[in-house]
């Protein structure tokens, strides 16, 4: 199956030309409906979060291709040069959206008894509201492919979980000339951070890792801080859970004289390379002469949330994740063609299975 370069490039460029940081996804409305109509999708719609959908077919089985239409903030000029396309979202993840739309459209007339839905979810770079809403309203799907940059041939079977906490401390303060008589809110926060770093200072996917991401304290060089506030992000694989981590942290926070509140939590997800969806992608790659790779993601994605819909879910898409969120976001046209063909073949294979 040869993907028409002009089609996939045109779709991606038009998606990139509409700047859509989280909360502004609706700007894409006219472009989305027009592109989906031109690609032959008979039904397209948007939900209240700003997520876009398009579908064809009907039947007991639903195959969903889900990526996200929001990007990190920071508009970049859209250009095509040297066989590459540049722009905000060229890696994360409008290239996946473009390839999913084009790939699904290529096999539309060859499938029977199956419903195919392509989703451009909202707020993946924020709080993941688009994916959460989909789960809340009871959306059903048998197989889900998440479009995230995995370098075309990577199949991501696991994402770690994420726990973000706010740590606050209050203290009496005092003069820095006699710290042994004073009371520092900053030191209380740092005492707790020291525990977290020692306990959860891993360096591999399998470890729990932690990062102190914000710290506010003090207003004078010789005054011990009376208030301190920090934000800490902790990442963890299965079998850890946010509950277990929070219990340990809360115990140590009490000892250190700090209070802890949860800003956000996303539980880890782990599926198998043997699932039907992973197999369909793997076989699609092999038929195209590509070698599939297994990828573990240290971060999170909408896959963590959409696992609640089906455990037959993996992530796969074009783009070098090291370029995601950078000012160098770019994708090769060859990779776009390859990914669109992979999605098309994988959807056809999943549709054929009983």
């Amino acid at each position: 199956m040869e993907i028409d370069e002009n089609v996939v490039v045109k779709v991606l460029v038009q998606l990139l030309e509409v700047y859509t940081p989280p909360g502004e996804e609706r700007r894409l409305e006219h472009t989305w409906y027009r592109l989906c109509r031109e690609l032959g999708f008979p039904r397209s719609w948007r939900d209240e979060t700003g997520s876009f959908f398009t579908s064809y077919g009907a039947g007991e089985k639903t195959i969903m291709l889900a990526s996200h239409v929001d990007t990190v903030p920071g508009e970049l000029p859209v250009k095509i040069s040297g066989g590459k396309i540049y722009g905000r979202g060229a890696v994360d993840a409008k290239s996946s959206v473009a390839c999913m739309l084009v790939g699904a459209s290529y096999v539309k007339n060859a499938l029977e008894g199956v419903r195919v839905v392509v989703a451009g979810l909202a707020d993946e770079e924020g709080a993941g509201l688009g994916a959460k809403r989909l789960v809340e309203r009871g959306f059903k799907a048998d197989h889900i492919i998440i479009g995230e940059p995995t370098g075309v041939t990577g199949i991501a079977t696991s994402y770690r979980g994420s726990l973000t906490i706010r740590v606050e401390a209050r203290a009496r303060g005092g003069h820095s000339s006699a710290p042994y008589m004073a009371d520092s809110a900053l030191e209380k926060v740092l005492t707790l951070w020291s525990y977290i770093k020692n306990e959860y200072g891993g360096t591999r996917y399998e470890d729990v890792t932690s990062a102190l991401t914000t710290l506010h304290a003090g207003d004078w060089a010789t005054r011990m801080p009376e208030k301190a506030e920090a934000t800490i992000n902790i990442r963890y694989p299965k079998p850890y859970s946010s509950r277990e981590l929070l219990e340990n942290i809360a115990r140590e926070a009490e000892k250190a004289g700090c209070s802890v509140s949860v800003i956000d939590t996303t539980e880890p997800v782990e599926t198998s390379i043997s699932t039907k969806t992973a197999r369909a992608l793997s076989r699609a790659m092999l038929r195209l002469g590509l070698k599939p790779r297994i990828v573990k993601k240290t971060g999170t994605s909408d896959m963590n949330t959409l696992y609640a819909i089906t455990s037959d879910i993996v992530a796969c898409g074009p783009g070098d994740s090291l370029l995601a969120h950078t000012c160098e976001e770019q994708i090769t046209i060859d990779d776009l063609k390859r990914s669109a063909a992979i999605y098309a073949n994988a959807v056809a294979e999943l549709a054929r299975q009983a």
């Binding site: 198998s272 390379i273 043997s274 992973a278 092999l286 297994i294 240290t298 994740s321 090291l322």
Partner: protein
């Protein structure tokens, strides 16, 4: 379904009839990530999958 030997735990693993050379599987018993090898004679075996890469998401 052909039953092959897991190179990690030595247990057996059933591979689908239609499996392609290079396909990836997880051994349900030991969790090993495996790649299907098919030689010139069509004989099948399993080896450890070459690459389990790590990269970030959000």
């Amino acid at each position: 379904m052909p039953e092959l030997s897991c190179p990690v735990c030595g247990g057996t693993m059933a591979v689908p009839e239609d499996a392609l050379a290079g396909e990836l599987f997880e051994h349900g018993d030991c969790g090993a990530q495996l790649e299907l090898i098919v030689d010139d004679n069509g004989s099948m075996s399993l080896k450890m999958a070459e690459e389990v890469a790590e990269d970030w998401g959000e």
